[in-house]
């Protein structure tokens, strides 16, 4: 089955209805086990118990960026292939991404205060991540400002694609500029193995939770559009 068969809303409803319970269950399992393990690891030798904030901060931040990437890809597909389901996918990812971004900022601030002595600094990583939140909010505002569905989706898609430039900036910000934020350490083997299990479980849990909620939101929007077309055809008939 090709991905474009899934682009048929009816087919999408069938397939997503089948996989959704499994993804949601996996998300719940990963989050519960990750949470328990996260409170069982010993405190970090430098950061003490605040290391437990990492199990929330890193998953929220990576999920926020992945959600934006997914939104930008869906936007590009919607723009190029003119497929309404891709527009729906992009539109429904934004509010979720915004919440994950906010959680990344809040938990980062609560981690920064005890470790750096500051809730906030205007360095490359924090500023570009704040820009991610503004991009999400701008995207949502733009979408609700334009009444016409197709025009709204097109304008939003262009904003989403341009904003995707910010993703590599966020990622490399800690390499390019002087910062208080620690360097990219997860895949550089710089985290003690004992912390990796809860971290990976929470990252998996956050990611799967995003995909579960995203699927439900796409399904919801399909129902809403179905209802609208029923009403329109009745009004016309």
């Amino acid at each position: 089955m090709s991905i474009f068969e899934l682009a048929n809303p009816k087919r999408f409803m069938e397939v997503s209805g089948l996989v959704l319970p499994w993804i949601a269950a996996a998300a719940a399992l990963a989050l519960v086990v990750g949470l328990i393990l996260g409170f069982r690891v010993p405190p970090d030798y430098q950061q003490g118990e605040t290391i437990r904030i990492m199990f929330l901060h890193v998953p929220a931040a990576t999920t926020a960026m992945m959600a934006y990437g997914a939104m930008a890809v869906a936007s590009a597909v919607g723009l190029i292939n003119r497929h309404p389901l891709a527009d729906v996918a992009a539109k429904t990812a934004a509010p979720l991404g915004a919440v994950f971004t906010a959680l990344g900022l809040i938990t980062g601030s609560l981690w920064g205060k005890p470790m750096w002595g500051a809730w906030w600094v205007w360095d490359g990583r924090l500023t570009s991540f704040l820009l991610l939140l503004l991009l999400y909010l701008g995207y949502i505002a733009l979408g609700s400002a334009i009444e016409d569905e197709t025009r709204s989706a097109r304008a939003c898609a262009i904003l989403a694609i341009i904003g995707a430039v910010n993703l590599p900036i966020i990622y490399f910000s800690v390499t390019w500029w002087t910062t208080l934020h620690q360097a990219n350490s997860i895949f550089a083997g710089k985290i003690a193995p004992v912390f990796l299990w809860p971290l990976f479980l929470m990252m998996g849990g956050y990611t799967l939770l995003f995909f579960s909620l995203w699927l439900v939101r796409i399904r919801t929007e399909i129902l809403n559009r179905r209802a609208r077309s029923v009403m329109l055809s009745r009004a016309a008939g």
Binding site: T50, A60, V99, I106, L110, R219, T220
Partner: protein, 49 residues
């Protein structure tokens, strides 16, 4: 138990981080499911009418 709650003196940072995350995630789940149920009900009502 007290040791657990105090989080090595960092309770004021660790617990708000967990509380905020719980509220954020739970809020998304509740809002998403509520919208789904509402859409389903509306479509059913429309099809029955």
């Amino acid at each position: 138990m007290n040791e657990f709650l105090s989080q090595g003196g960092y309770a004021l940072f660790v617990w708000p981080a967990y509380a905020a995350s719980a509220i954020g995630l739970a809020g998304m789940i509740v809002a998403t499911l509520a919208a789904w149920r509402k859409a389903k009900r509306a479509l059913t009502a429309l099809q029955d009418s």
